[in-house]
């Protein structure tokens, strides 16, 4: 981890609250708890800001009439949380054990203890699970347009997916690519506004949308991706390409919760009650990791605020039921 964060008594292992993750839900919660002088430590294994940080443009987060780059929004959230004393340490939580008053978190920097834990680890992009995908990972198959798009100047690309991320990132990739084939298994699920934006690039000939096209295989030669094989109307269709970007949905970052007592749904998202508390008393969840989450940054921030208030009540020993 980066630097040891100590609580008021100088103990860097015991805290009132440990937040696992540092995305919008986590940072919002930290803004609330640190403003209440709750000793709060955030532990992040990936990127501060989570998936929001690697999203090109965010147009639906309130307060930004012209939209905002995901990285800028993430940096702003981080600065705001740090302004009130939030400390983000880099590391990974491997397991959580309920030991009564304190929860034990096994981390890459040793065991840590907290009276309350907020799970805000979010989600990552799913893999398609087709031949060639793993073989060409980062060498032609990518999951982060803002990271890897620059390697495809004046080249042809395939983007797989039909949701908001696939459409948003396809539009971003037109900055670099000469042409993009967007392979959509069924129909476009992106918002109307994004679909209208997409249409402009379709009209310009920069993006071609292939509806009803399942991705079957990613093929390469001499260590380089050369084409994607799709299935359309039961027939194989080939899409010559220099690279593939995949945005086919999200999977929860909840593997570390096995044997924790935290109840997961059948996909692996964390189940909570209406106070955002999990099956383990004192352990809460907010944002994309939560079962039933809407996978929106604004929702994650709202859940972060709600969780912070519930955690404050828990720490003060004055919990009461929320109305249904």
């Amino acid at each position: 981890m980066d630097e040891a964060h100590t609580n008021a008594s100088g103990d860097d292992k015991h805290h009132d609250l440990i937040i696992v993750g540092a995305g919008p839900a986590a940072l919002t919660a930290a803004i609330y708890t640190t403003r209440e002088d709750i000793d709060t430590l955030l532990i992040e294994r990936g990127v501060v800001g989570g998936l929001a940080a690697v999203t090109d443009k965010i147009d639906n987060y309130p307060g930004f009439p012209d939209g905002i780059e995901g990285l800028e929004l993430s940096n702003n959230l981080r600065k705001q949380a740090e302004r009130f004393g939030a400390v983000i340490e880099l590391g990974e939580v491997m397991s959580i054990t309920d030991e009564g008053e304190y929860k034990k978190l096994e981390t890459t920097d040793g065991d840590m203890y907290a009276k309350a834990v907020l799970l805000a680890t979010g989600s990552d992009y799913k893999k398609i699970g087709v031949p060639g995908e793993a073989e060409y990972y980062a060498r032609g198959v990518h999951y982060c347009a803002t990271c890897d798009g620059a390697f495809y100047r004046d080249k042809k690309l395939v983007v797989v997916g039909g949701g908001n991320s696939a459409v948003q990132e396809s539009i971003f990739l037109t900055r670099f690519a000469s042409h993009i084939d967007l392979l959509v298994r069924s129909t476009i699920k992106a918002s109307d506004v994004l679909q209208q934006d997409l249409q402009k690039f379709v009209d310009e000939g920069k993006i071609t949308v292939h509806l009803g096209t399942a991705t079957d295989e990613i093929v390469g030669e001499n260590n380089v991706v050369t084409k994607v094989v799709g299935i359309q109307d039961g027939k194989k269709v080939e899409f010559p390409t220099d690279g593939v970007f995949v945005f086919v949905g999200l999977m929860p970052n909840s593997q570390f919760l096995a044997n924790s007592g935290v109840k997961l749904d059948k996909i692996g998202f964390v189940e909570t009650d209406n106070r955002l508390e999990t099956a383990v008393k004192g352990v809460y969840a907010a944002g994309d990791i939560r079962s039933g989450a809407t996978m929106q940054i604004a929702s994650a921030a709202g859940e972060g605020a709600t969780a912070a208030l519930m955690i404050r009540e828990h720490l003060e020993g004055r919990e009461h039921a929320m109305p249904n």
Partner: protein
Amino acid sequence: MPKNITIFTTNTCAYCGMVKQYLSAKGHSYEVVNLDDNPERQAEAMALSGAMTVPVTVVTKQDDSQEVIVGWNLAKLAPAVA
């Protein structure tokens, strides 16, 4: 302590910011090669990393041996710059 550190980045890469923040917090200076500004150096980054991605962090040790860390990988970066 490494002899020098070079990070290949792009303007929009969030993970690159994590590498920079980590190295700064540890008191390391580093050179940045921004591939948006210097696209002619993409081939160099790819040759070093074997991948088409950033960040690529090249740590040159005191004995001039090099360690290349692909992506934001704290488990590899931390010991490489220790």
